[in-house]
């Protein structure tokens, strides 16, 4: 049910937002969407919004959702375009939830660049793929 609602809200948001434009500044800045999951059959939709204020990489994981997590640690190794993010939020029961994301930027020059890698939600580890909107 929650997944269905997420998809409906996501589709409505896409319909209401203007067409995506290229981000030519810091390449991580913007809204990225896709999915993560511990297996090929169990996937969960996710949204990651990244910001670059002064020289700090921050943002939110799943903004607006009950498990929204603020990015507390964000690093980019631009020699190989790898990204490390750590978010802290709460799970569905209100307990602390830590999310750790390690990924690599692909297709850097494209407006719809992609970030793929591993996603750790609490103790559950999986893979993810998100695309910049």
């Amino acid at each position: 049910m929650r997944n269905k609602l997420f998809y409906v809200v996501g589709i409505l948001a896409l319909l209401m937002t203007p067409a995506a434009v290229a981000q030519q500044g810091h390449p991580l800045v913007g809204v990225w969407s896709g999915d993560w999951g511990p297996s090929a059959t169990e996937r969960h939709p996710v949204v990651v919004e990244m910001t670059w204020h002064d020289t700090t990489l921050g943002g939110m994981i799943n903004p607006g959702e009950t498990d929204a997590a603020q990015i507390k640690v964000g690093t980019l190794n631009s020699t190989n375009w790898t990204v490390h993010l750590e978010g802290e939020g709460k799970d569905e029961k209100g307990g602390p939830l830590k999310t750790v994301i390690d990924g690599t930027v692909e297709n850097l020059g494209s407006a719809k660049r992609v970030l793929t890698g591993t996603w750790m939600r609490g103790t559950v580890k999986g893979t993810f793929k998100i695309t910049r909107e």
Partner: protein, 295 residues
């Protein structure tokens, strides 16, 4: 009948081929007019009625400013040179005008992105997006200044690229506190001797500020200086102050040459241009171009 038409077309094409070099030559009347403007290159710097330096064509004449070498930095390694310059581009301009790429105070991510863009030249300007700063001046086919003292503002018109214009307010106003970022940003200027100093903020992150992909962020603050060195030469300097991409401000620039007798012409930039080999070089074979939205 059909054969006769075919023969006629071949004959006409052949005649055009033979006459093309002749037709491409300026007429005697044109040739007589153009050198008249060129021989006056050493005349004094034009001035507006209020005495300020003029960057416009003198009254009754036409002319545009053409970019010279418009690289922002002098490469010190092959990686720092754009693909299109790797066959040879040693026109560094006057000493001190352009920094060496190795001296630019990049943050790690901006240096990596700059190097990436030297082989992946997908410039938004090449797809009709306006570009402020350096690229606003380094446009193909000439740049034209229009100074309007009675309005206390000036405009910079580009012939090529987006074929757009950029206003600069010369009335002493401040930048707005909460303006929406735009491609050109908000520019205010003032005269200083035979120079114009322009301060710009509010540039969005959708374009490049030069043709070589120098990275910038929304924290970008530009200070530009145009100096008319003589009738036919303009020195353009730009200071890039962007703590989101660089550890400290730095300055670069280029010289521009006045081309008398030429004026802006109608130029249509085709948005959605996918002529990758022509517009952005050959290093982008793996880039996804399937999106209907032109980045």
């Amino acid at each position: 009948m059909r054969r006769q038409h075919h023969f006629g077309a071949v004959l006409a094409a052949g005649a055009l081929f033979i006459l093309a070099p002749v037709l491409a030559q300026p007429s005697a009347a044109q040739a007589a007019r153009q050198p008249a403007a060129a021989k006056d290159d050493n005349r004094p710097i034009p001035r507006l009625p209020d005495g300020h330096v003029s960057f416009e064509a003198p009254p009754g004449e036409k002319g545009v400013w053409n970019r010279q070498d418009y690289r922002p930095f002098i490469p010190t390694t092959v990686d720092e040179a754009a693909l299109r310059d790797r066959g040879g581009n040693n026109n560094d301009g006057p000493p001190g005008l352009k920094p060496k790429a190795s001296d630019v105070p990049f943050l790690p991510w901006s240096r990596s992105l700059f190097l990436y863009r030297q082989t992946h030249e997908i410039e938004p300007y090449g797809r009709c997006k306006p570009a402020g700063g350096f690229r606003n001046m380094a446009t193909p086919y000439g740049t034209e200044f229009v100074q309007v003292p009675e309005q206390e503002r000036m405009y910079i018109f580009q012939t090529g690229g987006p074929h757009s214009f950029r206003p600069i307010y010369m009335d002493g106003r401040a930048h707005p506190k909460d303006s929406d970022p735009s491609y050109y940003g908000h520019s205010v200027g003032r005269y200083e001797g035979d120079s114009i100093i322009v301060d710009t903020v509010g540039i969005n992150e959708r374009g490049w500020i030069d043709a070589y992909g120098t990275p910038t962020t929304k924290q970008l603050h530009l200070i530009e200086k145009w100096t008319r060195l003589d009738f036919k030469t303009l020195r353009y300097e730009i200071t890039i102050d962007d703590p989101g991409a660089y550890t400290k401000p730095f300055t670069t620039g280029m010289l521009m040459t006045y081309q008398p007798g030429r004026e802006m012409f109608e130029f249509v930039c085709q948005d959605g241009n996918l002529a990758g080999e022509l517009m952005i070089g050959g290093g982008n074979a793996k880039i996804d171009r399937t999106s209907p939205i032109v980045p």
